[in-house]
């Protein structure tokens, strides 16, 4: 069973994504900030990372840099409500595999996660 790590500080979004992922048969590890997520990655693992860009403390792009810096190649899907082109290009160039703008459709999010998993396999 694939494990999805969700890093999102908005409680409702995080809860709803978690419910939907679990319904689709994924295991979910969820964090409200980057720091505990990075701590988890020191010992644990996952198949896909859903990473919000605006996070308290260390933000999404910084966390992504840290993840790739550690040599972790797990596919990362960035989530954000901002649609600045520079931000999108910047995160993709820093090692993100995909990008989804809020408000997104739950079906689209699930489809993109499946694509990332297929690509990984």
């Amino acid at each position: 069973m694939a494990v999805v790590m969700l890093v999102e500080d908005e409680e409702l979004i995080s809860t709803m994504v978690e419910i939907n992922l679990k319904r689709e048969g994924f295991d979910v590890v969820s964090f409200g900030a980057s720091e505990p997520a990075l701590e988890y990655l020191e010992t644990g693992s996952c198949d896909v990372i859903l990473l919000d860009i605006m996070l308290p403390g260390m933000n999404g792009p910084e966390a992504l840099k840290e993840i790739r810096g550690r040599g972790i190649t797990t596919p990362v899907l960035m989530l954000t409500a901002r649609h600045d082109l520079d931000l999108k290009v910047g995160t993709l160039e820093s090692g993100a595999d995909d990008y989804l703008t809020k408000p997104f459709d739950m079906e689209e999010l699930l489809a993109r996660i499946r694509v990332l998993l297929r690509r990984k396999d």
């Binding site: 409702l12 709803m16 996070l55 308290p56 409500a81």
Partner: protein
């Protein structure tokens, strides 16, 4: 081949840089061209002044030669006084060796010569110096004018560019604030559409959904009030308001945002307090202050709400244990669209309008809103001061139209 590629790359980089900074290049180029034009014009005028001086000298010389010829043919010796005072020409004994500026009175008085008088030479020199100073002065002034105008224009363009970037950033923040609650609500509705949830599962989700709807509602309200205040037609309905009951009711409704045990208050210790306030504006101010504390709290939020009556005013203090700010920033926190991003936890979004609007509303009600903090990491205290209402029932309502 490598050298050629290097040149091509360098040329490409230069052209790329020029295109990226085309406005600056165009601006700087125009300024440079204008300065060159001004320098050329100054040199041209200087040349004219020099030519004019040479012409004057030549005319004087011709006049002297003419007089020398006339006087040289007269048998009577020349009268030095008349020449000096009337013609600006001096009569003197011819120098040996001959001077190029002197002309002999040939053929009858060859020992006498004529030369320009001291007065005419100094007058010509003074005129020449004056004209030169004028030309260079005009040139320097024009250069200074070009420089100042260029500098002012550059600053204007730069300010406009920064304002445009700031506006883009503000809209980006507002868009984020609008989209985030919508994302949660949309996800909730899409889930409910596809999935049966038990009442126990559903209840907390609906509570979260409700909180997001309220967040959206407050954002819309802030944007609307901000716009109306900026345009000067926000209508304030200030009247006598019983503050104790209002605050009790308000705090009771905050449990949706902050658990009861995290809020302490001395409101219960008061019987009644009458203030001059617009209940809607007061609610908006308190909402923004509470939202501010909730949003920027990086640990378990502890909020203290206490009131005091002092010298005909009532003060409502909201003290939190959040990140606080540098004491020097206590006025800046109220600037429109200002977020003390360097001091606040990163990644926290907001429109930057809440505190600005709150202070404007407090002032419109005849009160004040101030902020205090002992420094970053020491929490913040916001104090809303309201006027105590007059006790006579006749003055119970004083509506202000803005």
């Amino acid at each position: 081949m490598r050298a050629l590629r290097g040149i091509r790359e360098r040329l490409g980089a230069t052209l790329g840089w020029t295109w990226t900074h085309r406005h600056h290049v165009l601006f700087g180029g125009s300024l440079f061209f204008l300065t060159l034009l001004m320098a050329w014009w100054t040199l041209f005028l200087k040349e004219s002044v020099d030519r004019e001086r040479a012409d004057s000298q030549q005319i004087l010389q011709l006049r002297i030669e003419n007089y020398a010829s006339v006087l040289g043919h007269q048998l009577v010796p020349p009268q030095p006084d008349v020449l000096d005072s009337e013609k600006n020409i001096s009569l003197l004994a011819c120098p040996d060796p001959p001077d190029p500026f002197t002309v002999q009175l040939s053929p009858h008085h060859p020992t006498w010569c004529l030369t320009p008088s001291e007065l005419s030479i100094s007058s010509m020199d003074r005129q020449y110096r004056l004209r030169n100073a004028m030309v260079f002065g005009e040139g320097a002034l024009s250069f200074l004018l070009i420089l100042v105008t260029g500098l002012m224009l550059y600053r204007l363009l730069d300010a406009e560019k920064r304002a445009s970037q700031e506006l883009q950033e503000i809209w980006s923040r507002v868009t984020h604030e609008i989209k985030t609650p919508i994302t949660g609500i949309k996800a909730l509705l899409q889930t409910l559409e596809k999935q049966e949830l038990s009442p126990d599962e559903l209840r907390p989700l609906l509570k979260l959904g409700m909180r997001e709807v309220e967040r959206q509602e407050k954002l819309a309200e802030n944007l609307l009030i901000g716009q109306r205040l900026a345009r000067g037609f926000y209508q304030l309905q200030t009247s006598r308001l019983e503050l104790v009951a209002f605050l009790r009711n308000y705090l009771e409704h905050q449990v949706i945002r902050i658990p009861r045990e995290q809020v302490s208050s001395n409101v219960g210790g008061f019987e009644t307090l009458l203030v001059q306030a617009d209940p809607n504006a007061l609610r908006v101010i308190l909402d923004n202050l509470v939202e501010n504390s909730v949003k920027y709290s990086d640990k378990k939020l502890l909020l203290q709400v206490f009131i005091e009556e002092l010298d005909g005013a009532v003060m409502i203090h909201l003290k939190d244990n959040g990140p606080g700010f540098e004491p020097s920033q206590s006025r800046k926190v109220f600037d429109a669209y200002k977020r003390l991003s360097a001091e606040l936890p990163k990644g926290k979004q907001g429109t930057g309008m809440g505190l600005h609007i709150s202070r404007r509303l407090a002032v419109e009600m005849g009160g004040e809103l101030t902020a205090e903090s002992a420094g970053v990491g020491f929490g913040a205290t916001f104090t809303l001061t309201l006027r105590v209402a007059r006790s006579d029932p006749g003055g119970s309502s004083d509506k202000e139209k803005k």
